[in-house]
Symmetry: D3
Subunit: 329 residues, 6 copies
């Protein structure tokens, strides 16, 4: 495979703090010799483990970019042992557009791995992480939130993995993150995910869902900022002890967690995030909007638990995931 | 002025429950003899006052449409004395598109009054309310929320008016609505608003802001449903007593309530809705997103109060209203 | 009112055949000093009446432009007594785009009269016809068809007018046209129409609907070509006798001619154009398309007659005119 | 190859009538966890052959969806022996948009076979038919019409095949369909077609072209409804005898059937569908539209036969197929 | 007329240097309480004349904005006597989009005067200049260039005016500007222009055309920077003497200066800007692009002079101005 | 690999002059059986070498198409020995749209080689040149200019090649072309280029950059017309001697030739094309446009030479190439 067309404008190996870019040449109608410039910061202080910290894998999820732009600006080399590589907005074109996928190629970065150096812009970004940045890392923290169309109770998460030592290390990092909820995820279809790429290399991999709706709040941004510091402390990269927080563990044991819509309509939620639900409860209703007087369609819980995620926009379309029930320990 | 091109497909005067449409002929490329069909319900039972209930004045605000589609479907004529006219989605093209303004003409209905029978689709809708529906009403309740780009603490509101009797009647209806907050609004620029059109005819006019972000929650939808029933009871149209709720009164005394951005960036909120703030507090910061390491811009409160509204999307642009501070009684 | 910004590039008064343009300056992003160039032909031979012949008033109706581009190319001055002004595509931007309305301003030219020299491009075109071309004419023939979204049995038509002498002259010209059907139209809402503008000046005005669907057939194009020659012969401008054809007269006596949809769906026609129908007959059905197994909605005739027009696209939306029943003599 | 991401929401094997969906997960900006929901009906009654009936392979062709939504709603299990699988709108996103290709990925489903489980939405649909539904079928009927841009005389058709037994069975099914015309097709470039995929598995495969222009008529919808019932009867799945109809057989023996445009212009047809033509006849002309007075370009027949298909829109572009001549037996 | 909705964020009257904005509230789908923020600088030092300096009247013309952003940053209050108001990008939305007209309303600001406080965004900007800024000014310099679609020899210009004293003062300021060319313009259609608005108030008004094509060069940017300083010196506002430069005076005496295209094609220029031409010379040719081998159309000069402006893009459309010949003294 | 779907409508081998098309079938929403028609001329006179002449590889570069449409129209068979194949606009959809890449698939033809017969429209064009036209050629001349977003000093160029005999033959053809500048190019990333495809087959390959900005001038069009004639004479295909011109040789020795922007802004050039520069010189500045008073960013030369290319549009974005310095002999 040919080398990545992406080049870092700063040295990823040198000691100190460096602010630069991943420069990705991108010839297009409005710039024949243009490039996508993905901001990057590297903080290094001698030997030690490397943490790779990413946000903006989806462009409309904000807690990660807030925590990471803030961290990149304030972290001093002397606070660190080893290396911190910060890419606050991985799918930078999507982040600038405020959309889940890239406005250039409509690529969903988290389904584009392992990527390709000859593919679309999104595939080129995936390939660079796959072949250049992930191999440098010992621990990987990738921030997600619900984006414009989903909303979550705030949690950090790791996957159930075949290598139980790797799994245990990942859940330990999740616990260190200290979000209000912590999730054990069993991914049904992991093809193309950044998570899968990192885990297949044996990395400790932590992800999150910290809210959603295409916004952030003071509360969720605070969870993200505290969480990333905790993970770096847990990894021995940042000085100081993990700031311990209580968390509530959740499982998503099967496809019955999910309720999908078969009809479009105006969504009336009847349960809010974090509230307990029982199997058969009506979680929400969709009112037909073509005329008044028509009966709404009910969406029900398929198992007992708490409402962990929900469709965010006021209108729902056939095929949308309306609700996710998480099963508490 | 020539007659409105809009016609109701049901009799607005007859007793009983009628579900129909306001049909607005709209010739266009994809339908030469097409129409906009705005759902309408009329519930009448003999003599008595008329309430005109509207949602979807802006198309991305959902608590009103939820409460009104629900009410239109469930209200029986025998529960009523007088008449209830329900238009759950006034700017119906905007509502179907999930956008503040109309996808047909980008019209902001709440700046289009008194409208025109010869104008754009949005102006024709305004004109029909101005000349046909508003004159029929004794009390008008128009639901708003923040829409996709603003978020509010939930309140019902009325305007400070020159006619103090009318003002008092309006605030009494606000109190009956029973939202967690109640707002006394002094509109600085009221040109083109539906509120102004109704108030100029001497109507009792109640409006709301019940959340935002382009979604609704079980909590805010519940406030809307309870509020509309309370207003109808207060008006003597619906049987039964107002279901009293505690409310907290707020004022927006001057332009100092508003904080506007002069720079674009990634918005990090530092205060959440409903929290107390003091003049000079940093409410939020905007991180420059072109590179890491750059200093954020601070947005500060300009008076003491509580955070009553905020910019919702994760990115902020120059000129956006970042925050509104309400002054509590 | 200031003069029209439109100028003809050829002399409208001189004898002979002239091919030129109506040049309308149009400054825009892709041409700062650009213009809209509307093709125009003038054929004159001494004194005599003036016929103003137009097509493309709506840009997706083709029988008129075919007949008029053909006529403009083949008509010789010596065949004529008086003057023929031919504008085969009035709303030329719409005609080039193949759309009912102008791609520049979405203007429906046939609702833009009397127009304005300071308005949109479409309004400027209307104003030029209103103040320059219509006053030159004795007889006006404006070709229409159904366009992309309607289909008609082929007819020529004139309006019922207060001036019965003008009305009779118009119907005589309709009869001369010799389409398979001839229609007596009672326009309910004539505001903004070219027809109204011409009739208000006392002109003999003939219009047509010669098919539709955004296409033309050999049969309908033939009707148009024969019709325009017949009208010119009838007016004494073209040599020779009217080529007589049998026609069937239709009326559209009331709003009951029209059947509108209140639901969207997949349209299944049950009656074809020109077939007889009786009040209550199901003319078409709309199948819901969100799922299989749902009941279709029936659209019924509201009076006896023949099916004179129908919705053309395979999908129907709420508010579309599904069918028009014409009442035969 | 990994399993298809598409899942049927109903059991394809159980007896009785089931209305459900093919659910295709589709993460996108306006629904992070959204899906495409393709309506599906399965009617089964014990052992017997399986017919796979499809429409909407191209989204702007309507006779097939009309016949199949109608059939799916009305067919009772007790009328059937074996199984009928009905997908009235294969490329459902295209069907909802009323376009030939998918609005999601601009995919032409009939050029996407064998598809891929990792590809675009259109490729995923092709893959599901290739690997799941086609293997279940004994006989396959796929409805086509001309769509928005072509118009055909109504015919059912099958391909000349290397396996003459399979070919004979297919032509027998075409004859049973009973359209006014029947076509023997020799496909020059069969790469990517659904037809080819089915035929390569040895299935009896019948297709149609039943009109076009993006509409349906009572006549053509009737042909489709009668045809599908006849094919099911012929296959022994539906009770009763084939309702015999006269048909006229046509061939498309070579590339000389096709006339392509090398110039753009306003299309004037001189021959209508079904009319006889002789080699050298002018079938249509294109009038230049930039100015009046310019000579039209003639499009001529290249062999004797009848006009079997034609370009539908009123404007023609360079490269468009203007006409197809079929050779009658 | 109601007050302008635009407010300056800085004091226009105070001494010193102030950088701020004209804030124009603009409610829209992506910001319910958003604003357009037009950068503004005011440099004042005591009593003296006021110069109003503007660029970006059209958004794709760059010499003016370059000179004015540079001037606003570097001018010190102590260098000035009186006041300099600098708005480097009047139609700021157009300037940010790099387009002639506003992306919000497609408004051409230089055809929007006198504007309206209730109109579109572009009309509101015009109204603010008309009623607030122009009345403050003694001398007005408005920078133009050719934009993306035209290219000019660099000149400053003023209009022939009925008030000969005002005209003389204006031409004196043009001479002071010191561009390579200076133009005496006789505006044929001055309706809606900023020039006209300023001149009607009796202001000394200077405009320019300093190149084009949607770019700037070191040479043309230098002309703009020197020109604005010279005009301020000439007006007695900036210290120091006018830096004299040789200029060549041109006239545009009639419509024969302009050559318009009646055909589209690939434009081959045969004369370059500034070269002498004689009546009848072929200035450029348009090659038809639909096929090879077709004859090009010639565009000829209609009088003697020099080539002063030309169509810039490589393709030309019917109606475009291909060339302007200026008549040298 | 299957055969190309593209077919030439004229014989490429026969003697004489033929004007035709490369017809590429392209089924799409607006033409189910449509095609892309790429104009082509073949001029042949007996045995002799074949020159393949192309323009419009990028659709917004005009000198090549001008020279080649002109050549194709005027070249007579008797002037030639051997064969000249002329494709004035290779990426014809891009050329008609006036954009660098194809409006159909956003394909950059010069990054699409070797292409594919099953791929996008752009990939099909590449495949046809790769497998059909390039193998026929002895010498290949492919015209480029800067397009809308870059501007160059006018040069012809060839690549430094491993086969020094091929390299020498190529540079000899460059010298014969006779542009004001001649460039020795060392391509850093040659993947997907037409150049690479031709050179890998051992062809003599000449390319150019003859200006830019999306326009042509009389001067640059003249260079192109003279250059192509010279190359044909040099190859012994066209009669007559090469018209010798002085040229200046340039090198682009390393990545230090290029200056990229890391910030967006309003671009102020300080050096013009062709001017000498020294390492460290400020070539241009970017003024921040969000407010007045902010400091511009400087872009500096990284080695000594002349300014050979520059960013053309007035605004610059992060990642754009701002300037290229060429090193003169």
């Amino acid at each position: 495979m040919r080398p990545s067309p992406i080049a870092a404008t700063v040295d990823l190996e040198a000691d100190g703090v460096r602010h630069g870019f991943l420069r990705l040449p991108h010839s297009r109608d409005d710039s024949a010799w243009g490039s996508v410039m993905i901001p990057l910061a590297v903080i290094r202080n001698g030997e030690g483990p490397t943490a790779l910290l990413t946000g903006g894998n989806h462009g409309d999820e904000y807690e990660g970019p807030i925590a990471l732009f803030d961290l990149a600006r304030t972290l001093r080399a002397e606070d660190v042992r080893g290396r911190v590589i910060v890419v606050p907005a991985m799918n930078y074109p999507a982040f600038r557009a405020g959309t889940r996928t890239s406005p250039i190629d409509r690529g969903n970065l988290n389904r584009a791995f392992p990527g390709s150096p000859d593919g679309t812009v999104t595939q080129k970004i995936a390939d660079y992480f796959q072949r250049t940045l992930l191999p440098m890392a010992d621990i990987v923290l990738d921030f997600h939130s619900g984006g414009r169309t989903l909303d979550f109770v705030p949690f950090a998460a790791a996957h159930v993995l075949p290598d139980k030592r790797q799994e245990a290390a990942s859940f330990a990092a999740v616990a260190a993150f200290g979000a209000p909820f912590s999730m054990r995820m069993l991914e049904i279809d992991a093809v193309g995910m950044y998570d899968t790429a990192a885990e297949a290399m044996g990395k400790v991999f932590v992800t999150t869902e910290l809210g959603g709706g295409g916004t952030a709040t003071a509360r969720t941004a605070g969870i993200a900022k505290r969480g990333v510091a905790n993970v770096l402390r847990h990894a021995g990269i940042l000085r100081g002890a993990v700031e311990a927080r209580e968390t509530r563990w959740l499982d998503m044991p099967s496809g019955d967690c999910f309720t999908f819509a078969e009809d479009e309509g105006l969504l009336e939620p009847l349960v809010d995030l974090g509230e307990p639900v029982r199997r058969g409860d009506v979680l929400a209703r969709a009112h037909p909007v073509g005329r008044t007087g028509a009966e709404p369609v009910a969406f029900r819980a398929r198992l007992d638990g708490i409402l962990a995620a929900r469709h965010f926009p006021g209108l729902v379309k056939a095929g949308d995931c309306v609700a996710v029930v998480g099963v508490a320990d």
